[in-house]
């Protein structure tokens, strides 16, 4: 009790330990598991990252033609880094900066994208099955 009393009074004349965060820039440690960045050139759309993702934050939309899309949802990701480790081509890199908060307007409609990805995957699977069936019948 007495010690804390003296410490409290001493603290009055010491510098506070607070980091004035938004005004003072903060640099995360090296190796902090932050945002995931994607390089288009290296990606082959093998879907390994999507399958490795625990929380389903990566969806790959493969439309009928050559148009393919890699979607990552920052507010669904749990930042475990499993997708980065699973990528065989090094197309995914984990930056050391954390994602910033977003407002209502900037948010992706994730359930819509989930549905869409599911539909596209189903179609793609069906096509694959049909092709295999054709090959077998031949």
């Amino acid at each position: 009790m007495l010690k804390m009393f003296i410490t409290s009074i001493k603290n009055l004349f010491r510098k506070p330990v607070t980091q004035l965060y938004p005004y003072e820039k903060y640099e995360p440690f090296d190796g902090y598991r932050g945002k995931i960045s994607w390089e288009k050139g290296k990606c082959t759309f093998c879907m390994k990252c999507g399958r490795a993702c625990t929380s389903g934050a990566i969806k790959i939309l493969i439309y009928s033609g050559e148009t393919k899309e890699w979607v990552w949802n920052p507010i669904q990701c749990i930042y475990c880094g499993e997708c980065v480790r699973s990528c065989p081509f090094g197309a995914l890199i984990q930056e050391k900066y954390y994602a910033s908060p977003i407002t209502k307007g900037e948010k992706l409609d994730w359930s819509e994208i989930e549905k869409k990805a599911g539909r596209l995957e189903d179609r793609w699977r069906r096509q694959l099955r049909d092709r295999r069936g054709k090959r077998k019948s031949e």
């Binding site: 980091q19 930042y79 954390y98 908060p101 407002t103 359930s111």
Partner: protein
């Protein structure tokens, strides 16, 4: 008046509710109050009382038992109020998405204004989120200043939001 404008976004009192998160974000929320980050710089106090709160910080993917409590808390906070979903699981479910006892995220129950990502959200991210929430709080405060001759109409329209109808809506889902 300009002097009234000052008070709008300078003293957010927070209410924290855990709707089934892993405690990770909750302890980071407590850590935000401690000397290293000290959000009392922005006048933020952990009031823990919905009637005196301005900002609701909600963690967790909203389990089915929690949602009525969450709605109750939301309705008890006087306007203007801002809802901040802290952490991945309150934004969209995170790893709990599509589990059987979970509503995927806070937005399914009450309107959310700011989404703070991260699992668990860092104190820096939470501070960023609160700063963003303060801007929204200021805007919402302005929207409340309705001219007096329109007040009657507005009040009539807002009377439509009552607890029973919202609960009914929840049950139907």
């Amino acid at each position: 008046m300009k002097i009234f404008e000052l008070g709008k976004a300078k003293s957010p009192w927070i209410l924290h509710y855990n709707t089934g998160s892993c405690n990770g974000c909750d302890i980071e929320l407590l850590a935000v109050l401690t000397p290293r980050y000290d959000v009392e710089r922005f006048g933020m106090l952990n009031k823990g009382n919905p009637k005196q709160a301005d900002i609701l910080l909600i963690t967790g993917p909203v389990t089915k038992r929690c949602r009525e409590r969450l709605l109750n808390l939301y309705l008890q906070v006087p306007e203007p109020k801002v809802v901040v979903a802290v952490g991945t699981c309150s934004c969209g479910g995170g790893v709990f998405r599509h589990m059987y006892n979970v509503e995927n995220g806070v937005e399914r129950v009450i309107p959310v204004d700011v989404y703070v990502p991260g699992c668990a959200a860092r104190p820096q991210q939470i501070i960023d989120g609160v700063v963003k929430a303060l801007q929204i709080l200021r805007e919402k405060g302005r929207a409340l200043e309705v001219p007096p001759h329109l007040k009657k109409i507005v009040r009539g329209r807002e009377g439509g939001i009552d607890r029973e109808s919202l609960l009914e809506d929840l049950r139907r889902r």
